[in-house]
């Protein structure tokens, strides 16, 4: 049981962060708070990907002198997995772009209704 909680702490952090973000997106009434929730949600997924790349006692996946002495075999076990890192670079770009679009949309909403509270906006739409 102890192992289940402490041994897999990276997954717990990921799940808790994700749920915080999800909660903010669903139940916060302010649009900016929803956007912050959205960001936490996306960050949680990025942390998840990064954490599955880690290995105990491994180092950065940079090969020294690879171009001249490329003959010797590479021990994959001594390097952390670079692929999730690369994937998350793309995901971070997507996340920033989403944030940008979301903020632009919020500016449009504010210009139209003069408020960012969902309840007041809904009242003005009716």
């Amino acid at each position: 049981m102890f192992d289940f909680i402490v041994g897999k702490y990276n997954y717990w952090i990921h799940i808790i962060l994700m749920m915080i973000g999800f909660y903010a997106m669903m139940s916060k009434r302010n649009l900016i708070k929803k956007i912050i929730g959205m960001n936490i949600f996306q960050t949680a997924i990025i942390i998840f990907f990064i954490s599955i790349a880690a290995k105990r006692g491994a180092t950065l996946p940079i090969l020294e002198h690879a171009h001249d002495g490329g003959e010797h075999a590479i021990e994959a076990i001594s390097y952390i997995n670079p692929l999730p890192h690369v994937l998350m670079l793309t995901a971070i770009v997507v996340m920033v772009a989403t944030l940008g679009v979301a903020l632009a949309v919020v500016i449009l909403v504010y210009r139209k209704y003069d408020t960012l509270e969902e309840a007041e906006i809904l009242k003005k739409i009716k």
Binding site: M25, A91, V105
Partner: protein, 496 residues
Amino acid sequence: MIDQAPILVVIFPLIFAVVTPLLGWWKKDLCYPWVILALSLSSVCSIITLKEVLGNGVIHYHLGGWEPPWGIEYVIDHLNSFILVLVASISLLVAISSKRLVEEENPDKVVYFYTLFLLQVTGFLGIVATGDLFNLYVFLEIASLAGYALIAVGEEHAPFATFRYLVMGTIGACFYLLGVGYLYMATGSLNMADVAQILPDIYSSKVVMVAFIFLLVGVAIKMALFPLHAWLPDAYTYAPSATSALVAPLMTKVSVYVMIRIIYTVFKPYYSIEILPVNLILGWLAVIAILYGVIMALRQVDIKRMFCYILIAEIGYMVGGVGLANRLGVTGAILHIMNDALMITGLFLVAGAVVYKLGGHNINQLRDAFKKMPFSMAAFAVVGLSLIGVPPTCGFFSKWYLILGAIEAENWIFIVALLLSSAINAILFFKIVEIAYYGKASHAHNGDSHGGNTIDEAPVSILIPLGVVALAIILAGIFSGKIVSGILQFAVPPNL
């Protein structure tokens, strides 16, 4: 040139999109022909690809020459070459129709509109062409982000509707990404074919099960399947006419395609039938989506909103066909992807013409529309007949396959839903025709019938695509036997 066609389909709109703002900065009027050129080239490449696939079988295109499990691979088989042609040609038609609509609705944003338009088409084509799970996520987000921006410049309440869509869409995309992450954890690969090969040994794993559910829920949000549809009617109703004609038919269809890929290519069909009864759940959701969609459509007085609910019902048809999990049902679903893309494009182009000429999308504005806009309304009549499912039009044939599939699967409730929705579609159609032809149901105090009976047709740039769509609906119906025997029978997953 020919062997580069699969990548050129996607690259053309992308490169042209990058150049569009520069070109627009120099001369604004050049944007429109530039977009038409980009999409024509892309359409030609997609047709070349389809011919190549029909002649020589599946194409594997390795990006940058990297071998598949490490590099990104585009896999073009019968299913996605068919959908590539569909997406490229429909976006070309919508681009042609967009000229006057954009000038009317967003005169100072023409350049950016076309840039985003091309980016969105890039996203759609990329989703369809790719054989890599993570690459699909990137294209999904390109398409969605361009879509948010395009919708947000619409009518009065568009920004708030867009915000809701954005939040929901981001949850969907994140779920998809999370599903990809779990699959990567379990298999160590992102290539669909490679994953499909590794997975069967670990089907009992809970990680794989959760991944499958996350992938499906993510895609279901993007396609607005019934309980997750709430963002769709507002977003597509308030969007500019040209945007809704592009997004409404394609985003949902592309998502259905991704669902078919996940259930039948990445996972083996027996996984969703025996191990996790997803097909059963999809079948029920489809029935509810169909009934909910048509009943809500009946209540609407806004034609664009009505079309949105019809779209929700149509998604039910396709998901239901996928959920039947037999050859006939999936054939019907894939055929309906084409037919529905044509019909929804037709509907939203008519809505665009109506907004352009009659100034709004309330149903009462359609009064005497048959006299004012005979050609647009004739096209609308063809689309309407196809929605009901009258034989020479294509809507009949996909429904026929779906019903045959449902009989084979003994899913009687799905047949009832299909028939009932056809009946309600007929009521909807005649409700609009009654107003548009006889001019009834309008409030008498609105006595402004100035020149109401002279022909005041929508511009040619809208009429031509509309005519092509109407013609395509009839031709797709007449040649549906050929389409099924020539393309679709190879597109259906082989081991069903």
